[in-house]
């Protein structure tokens, strides 16, 4: 099929970018979205041009690097799908596809479609971990954990940090991501030890980095490729209120 691509081109972080429109022939339905971009880049290189920079690694929906804003939707808008899992069967001959990078003050564009998502790493470094002595791996069942809790923790832990929540949110809020990373520990005894500090530090870091504030709209949940739920944000709020009130209690 023949398609038209409208792609954001930006030389580097400091330059001003712009949209450039290209015609692309010979796209096959069997291609994945990223394979289509590979094929497109090949046509550019053959003409001596500069290929479009886009990020990817696993190409199977587990690393979270491949986020693109496609035709108005983070990851193209298919249900629980990362950009790399998107297939060209979703498009038809003659389609125009507009591809933009994630837009957020906290995710500056590095080049073309690649943004710097290290803000997420900074939030994790503020508290998204547990402190434990390293050594031999402990026995798997040394600490009994209820199945429902383990499942809930896992459902939050599947977040791959792709940034689609920030990209889809009209406020560029990172609260779905942060709340998932807080929730994955909230159910487990190992996570409770530092729970009071964790939520306060991670929220403070998130605020510093210039993300917006959640308005409980739910666009993040709708676009999350991993099905992270808005209930995580409520849990984060709960943890935060508990931490703010609880940490002031005088203990002997």
């Amino acid at each position: 099929m023949n398609i038209t691509l409208e792609i954001w081109r930006q030389k580097n972080a400091r330059s001003k970018g712009k949209f450039v429109t290209y015609k692309l022939d010979g796209v096959s339905e069997e291609m994945s979205f990223l394979e289509m971009l590979d094929y497109f880049n090949k046509t550019i290189v053959e003409k001596g041009g500069e290929p479009v920079a886009f990020e990817y690694d696993c190409r199977e929906g587990i690393c979270g690097c491949c986020g693109l804003h496609i035709n108005g939707y983070a990851h193209g808008g298919a249900h629980e799908t990362t950009t790399c899992e998107l297939r060209m069967t979703k498009f038809k001959d003659g389609d125009k596809i507009t591809i933009e990078p994630w837009r957020s003050r906290a995710f500056p564009v590095i080049k073309d479609l690649i943004v710097d998502r290290s803000a997420f790493d900074k939030i994790l470094r503020a508290g998204g971990f547990i402190t434990a002595n390293a050594g031999a791996a402990p026995d798997a069942n040394a600490i009994p954990i209820r199945k429902v809790d383990a499942d809930e923790a896992f459902d939050s832990a599947v977040c791959v940090g792709c940034g689609a929540c920030v990209a889809a949110c009209k406020n560029s809020s990172a609260m779905l991501f942060v709340s998932a990373k807080i929730s994955q520990f909230a159910f487990l005894p190992q996570g409770r030890v530092e729970a009071v500090q964790r939520v306060q530090k991670m929220v403070a870091r998130m605020d510093e980095l210039g993300f917006g504030n959640c308005t409980n709209t739910g666009a993040c949940e709708a676009r999350c490729p991993k099905g992270i739920k808005l209930t995580n944000i409520a849990r984060m709020n709960r943890e935060f209120i508990g931490a703010k009130l609880g940490s002031q209690i005088v203990r002997h």
Partner: protein, 226 residues
């Protein structure tokens, strides 16, 4: 300025917004109850007695401090959060899709600003007049009230004002439709069983308050009993 209000974390601001908002909703129910008295008694005695109670009862006068405080905090925090949200995306998207999520949540600042304009006009029209004794007295038997009801009826006979009032109440309903259930989410009160109920309740609250307030100018305007 930046120091005090901006130092509160995003979550603290959201929590305060939610608490202030819920408090304002309870006030709206009290206000609506008094307003509806007008419809039940075209002699306006019931309404004037209610209005008299609201401007003289010491408990209500004391609560007024919290009411105006609540309104002020809700507005200030709402504006700060919104400005931060606009700043969080300096370059927007060329194409934005439509997500099938809480549509009213996307226009909270817009509906909010119109409600604020309405509120200002409303306070000038009624509240300040009542407080400064600019309302004519009316005699019922041996009790005398300020005739607030006449003030209301006079304004509601003005078609332009009725349209303005009805539109403002419609937008208030849109605002509340998202607001009520959103406040529970902000307060972390999320529950597999009760959250769907609260979402339903949010729709009911917005419809009852919106329609309730709208009803009064419409009835007064179209009925010749007033």
């Amino acid at each position: 300025m930046s120091n005090i209000t901006l130092r509160y974390s995003s979550l603290t601001k959201k929590i305060v917004m939610a608490l202030a908002g819920l408090f304002l909703i309870t006030f709206l129910f009290v206000h609506l109850t008094v307003n509806l008295m007008l419809l039940f008694d075209p002699t306006r005695e019931m309404f004037n007695a209610g209005a008299h109670f609201m401007v003289t009862n010491p408990v209500i006068q004391f609560m007024q401090i919290f009411l105006f405080g609540g309104i002020l905090i809700h507005i200030i925090f709402g504006l700060i959060l919104q400005i931060q949200n606009w700043m969080a995306r300096p370059v927007g998207y060329k194409v934005t899709g439509w997500s099938h999520t809480s549509p009213f949540s996307k226009f909270m600042i817009h509906t909010g600003i119109i409600i604020l304009i309405f509120l200002t006009v409303h306070i000038i029209n009624f509240f300040l007049k009542a407080k400064t004794g600019q309302v004519n007295p009316i005699q019922y038997g041996d009790v005398e009230y300020e005739d607030m009801g006449l003030l209301v009826v006079d304004l509601f006979k003005n078609g332009g004002y009725v349209i303005f009032y009805v539109i403002a109440m419609l937008l208030l309903a849109f605002h509340l439709h998202h607001a009520f259930q959103s406040a529970f989410q902000s307060l972390g009160l999320n529950h597999s069983k009760y959250t769907p109920f609260i979402k339903g309740l949010s729709a009911v609250v917005s419809i009852v308050l919106g329609l309730g307030f709208m009803l009064i100018p419409l009835v007064v305007f179209f009925s010749d009993k007033f």
